[in-house]
């Protein structure tokens, strides 16, 4: 049986590693998009973002940083066996995630109103939608991970698994946070 437990732990380690690899893969996707943006924009002086980025992007950044903090609190709570606290913080993170969604939509609205449409002969502006849209799809995935962790906590699954789920969800959520900041800074630098 001891052997089994060792194998079991190794297995979880290998699975957690899958998440890191997934993060690398998904970062490559955004690296491709952003370098695509550079190649495209450098090609011609008429291209470029050429509008002020909406304020909502800033609010989004604040929201997602806050949610990253709550995700970490949930992880700490899970580690210390404070299940009530863990559930609360996961729930908070999920709510902040949804607020992030709302804020991004607001940003799109603002972009649209300022004339930077998605269907645009200056594709640099279309790229803003692609960046934030692709990021939002990742946020949806992140929400699923959080919900999965929440369900685990509610069902009172064994602590090893609970911490594992919580850890995977929070690693991914921090990645989403850092990814958005990368995208936002990238856009700001190219404004």
């Amino acid at each position: 049986m001891e052997n089994l437990q060792v194998e079991d732990r190794l297995n979880l380690k290998a699975k957690k590693f899958l998440m890191w690899l997934f993060i690398i893969a998904s970062f490559m996707m955004f690296a491709a998009l952003t370098s695509g943006f550079i190649v495209y924009t450098e090609g011609n002086a008429e291209r470029g973002i050429k509008v002020l980025l909406p304020k909502a992007f800033m609010y989004s950044s604040v929201i997602i940083i806050l949610s990253s903090i709550t995700a970490h609190m949930a992880y700490l709570a899970a580690k210390n066996l404070q299940l009530g606290k863990q559930k609360l913080y996961i729930l908070l993170t999920i709510l902040l995630g949804i607020a992030f969604f709302y804020s991004q939509f607001q940003a799109w609205q603002a972009l649209y109103n300022s004339g930077a449409y998605f269907v645009n002969y200056n594709a640099s502006q279309s790229f803003i939608y692609v960046f934030s849209g692709a990021h939002l799809i990742h946020v949806i995935v992140g929400l699923f991970f959080l919900i999965y962790a929440l369900i685990g906590a509610i069902r009172n699954i064994p602590q090893v698994r609970n911490v594992f789920r919580m850890e995977v969800a929070s690693i991914f959520w921090h990645f989403l946070d850092i990814l958005w900041i990368y995208l936002y800074v990238f856009l700001l630098l190219n404004q």
């Binding site: 052997n3 089994l4 194998e7 079991d8 190794l10 297995n11 979880l12 380690k13 290998a14 699975k15 590693f17 899958l18 690899l21 997934f22 690398i24 893969a25 998904s26 490559m28 996707m29 955004f30 690296a31 491709a32 998009l33 695509g36 190649v39 495209y40 090609g43 011609n44 008429e46 291209r47 998605f118 269907v119 645009n120 002969y121 200056n122 594709a123 279309s126 692609v130 692709a134 999965y148 698994r161 594992f164 789920r165 995977v168």
Partner: protein
């Protein structure tokens, strides 16, 4: 994750029930053969799907070879099978010709040589050669196969839509691929191509993540990285290349989808279709080429590296010699991995690229010749004065080395930015990549199938059919692709429908007839393989546990497949996998599971990696048994 529980309970069962009876898994047909989470079954699923796709793609190639050889002839049979729409009057129509060229390329590169090759052998060998019960996540592994299967089905479906399959070449360059009105193949067929590719990328990404995580985390006791067989090194680096390059294709495809369906202008600008000016402005078609080739070039290494890994293992085993330069082999694989990401521009020399940038890409491209040559010389040095056993697998491995040399040499010409102006998009390119990544990789795959067939099905394939298969395919492939070099040097462009349309191409028609006959013969040779493969699953000779007297771990697992691979404990590893014909030992192979304490008569001091105690014991033993040592001065 749901898979955690399922997998662990499987391992649990393995342990609890061990020793009672072996029919204990309450597996239904569906969980065993269809939605299986067992890596060995998934490997077989990948292999058989890959073989089916290979046959389809091969038939497509014969169809366009017929057109190329006899552009004016009519084959009523074609109309019977393909219908009036595609082969009116028994002649393949131009639209259909472009479609089959495109789909042939896509299927061969992605479905056969990526999923069929990596998917099969990574899944089969990683857990078995490393001593793991299964993959890091068997559940995701299953998902990976079913995404692949779905993507194959969608690609096949595109043959049955009104406007036909995608036909802008396997690289689907916009604007041709971005405008549904440009050619009929850019309609629904192209949409299906894109959907299929997105699923395919998801499948290979999930696969690659699993392979890397398993290799890094789930090796058995004693199996440090430098004791891994070269197959595993190759799969590992292939998976890394995949993780870093496939997401880029997704980005490119997403933008293309927006251009096609939403009216954006990422790739489109200044286009007139059928007299109408399109509204799209400001896009850059070269952007697609950058993004595509950032995947596309590493992709060819994704195709060839597993084949090289498989070959290393098979050549060493069948030469009864340690692989020559194990570390050099690993470092050259790492070198290829790194370099593969900084050479994509050599596909774009004639896009109006800055000549300085062209020079940079030329240099990086030519540097890849160095690790490739290191590998080639190491294969040759391994074979040199070996005790060769010409099993079918060995023949295919040697065939790979041959193709890798003859195809690789022409890469030096194509990688040269100045020469490429002349050679770009000619048959010279076709000859080059079919030899170096097409034939070489498929030979690596076939070599793996012949070698590990006993591991997959517990039976042996027929050797005589294997020899027929090898010689016909080997000679046939050279006869098909060698003449194409000369056509390319003469400037004959690839993908052209009829050689009768241009005076300078007409003189090559006779060569085309020759090539087509060679292609038909090598295609028929595959029947020998297919018969051999499927017949032997049921009626082949039963295989012993270690049919090739091989050192690696997979041959210590029982012939009968178990969920969990080994009954009881996983064996530990004590030595590297290439102790073949070690002087002083009574057999010509020492499995990785044999501890040095059992092979005192053959141990060398450097085997102990600087462990003073072990060295001391060995020296003590040597002194007492001086007469038994073959080469005492070596110690």
């Amino acid at each position: 994750m749901a898979s955690t529980a399922i997998h662990d309970s499987a391992v649990l069962h393995q342990h609890d029930d061990h020793g009672h009876d072996h029919g204990h898994h309450k597996e239904t047909f569906i969980t065993k053969y269809i939605f299986s989470q067992d890596h060995k079954m998934i490997a077989k699923q990948f292999l058989i799907t890959g073989i089916v796709m290979a046959v389809v793609a091969m038939i497509l190639s014969i169809l366009f070879r017929l057109q190329l050889a006899w552009p004016d002839e009519s084959f009523p049979l074609l109309e019977t099978f393909l219908g009036e729409k595609w082969a009116e009057g028994g002649r393949i129509k131009p639209d259909f010709y472009l479609a089959i060229v495109t789909i042939h390329g896509t299927m061969m590169v992605f479905f056969v040589l990526t999923a069929g090759l990596s998917g099969t052998f990574s899944n089969l060998l990683i857990p078995l050669q490393l001593g793991a019960r299964d993959m890091a996540s068997p559940f995701l592994n299953m998902i990976s196969y079913w995404l692949f299967f779905t993507s194959c089905v969608i690609m096949m479906c595109s043959f049955f839509v009104e406007s036909g399959p995608a036909s802008s070449g396997w690289t689907v360059y916009p604007p041709l691929s971005a405008l549904p009105k440009a050619i009929s193949g850019s309609g629904t067929g192209m949409t299906l191509w894109l959907i299929s590719m997105v699923l395919f990328v998801a499948s290979s990404l999930i696969g690659a993540l699993n392979y890397i995580s398993t290799i890094l985390n789930m090796r058995t006791k004693g199996m440090d990285m430098w004791k891994m067989p070269l197959t595993i090194w190759a799969f590992f680096l292939t998976a890394i290349v995949g993780v870093l390059s496939f997401p880029v294709l997704v980005s490119a495809v997403v933008l293309l989808i927006f251009d096609r369906s939403f009216g954006t202008s990422f790739y489109l600008s200044d286009i007139v279709v059928a007299g109408q000016i399109l509204p799209n402005q400001g896009g850059s078609p070269v952007l697609w080429q950058h993004l595509f080739w950032f995947l596309g070039h590493p992709e060819v290494y994704i195709v060839i590296m597993p084949a090289l890994g498989i070959t290393s293992e098979v050549i060493a085993t069948n030469s009864r010699k340690p692989i020559f330069g194990y570390h050099a082999m690993v470092y050259s694989l790492i070198g290829i991995t790194v370099l593969s990401f900084i050479v994509w521009g050599h596909h774009m020399f004639v896009t109006g690229m800055n000549p300085f940038l062209g020079g940079v890409f030329m240099i990086t491209t030519l540097i890849i010749a160095v690790p490739s040559a290191v590998k080639t010389f190491n294969y040759l040095a391994t074979i040199w004065r070996g005790n060769l056993r010409f099993t079918p697998a060995m023949l295919f491995a040697i065939g790979l080395v041959s193709f890798f040399i003859s195809g690789g040499l022409t890469g030096l010409f194509l990688g040269n930015a100045a020469l490429d102006i002349n050679l770009h998009d000619t048959y010279f390119v076709v000859a080059h990549f079919h030899l170096v990544m097409g034939c070489a990789a498929i030979f690596g795959m076939l070599c793996g199938v012949y070698h590990w067939y006993p591991k997959m099905f517990g039976r042996l394939m027929d050797e005589r059919l294997g020899y027929i298969h090898f010689w016909l395919t080997f000679i046939g492939a050279y006869l098909v692709f060698f003449p194409m070099h000369f056509m390319g040097i003469d400037g004959v462009p690839r993908r052209y429908y009829a050689f009768t349309e241009f005076a300078f191409m007409q003189e090559w028609l006779t060569v085309n007839v020759f090539v087509t006959w060679a292609a038909i013969i090598s295609a028929l040779a595959q029947v020998a393989f297919l018969w051999n493969f499927f017949y032997s699953i049921f009626y082949g000779k039963k295989s012993p546990q270690n049919p090739w007297d091989s050192n690696t771990l997979e041959w210590t697992a029982p012939v009968k497949h178990l969920h969990g691979n080994w009954p009881g404990e996983i064996p530990s590893v004590y030595r590297w996998p290439y102790d073949y014909s070690k002087p002083g030992h009574y057999t010509d192979f020492i499995p990785q599971t044999t501890p040095f304490s059992e092979t005192m008569s053959s141990n060398l001091l450097h085997d102990f990696e600087g462990n003073p105690e072990a060295e001391h014991i060995q020296q003590e033993w040597d002194r007492q048994n001086a007469s038994e040592r073959h080469n005492p001065e070596q110690v």
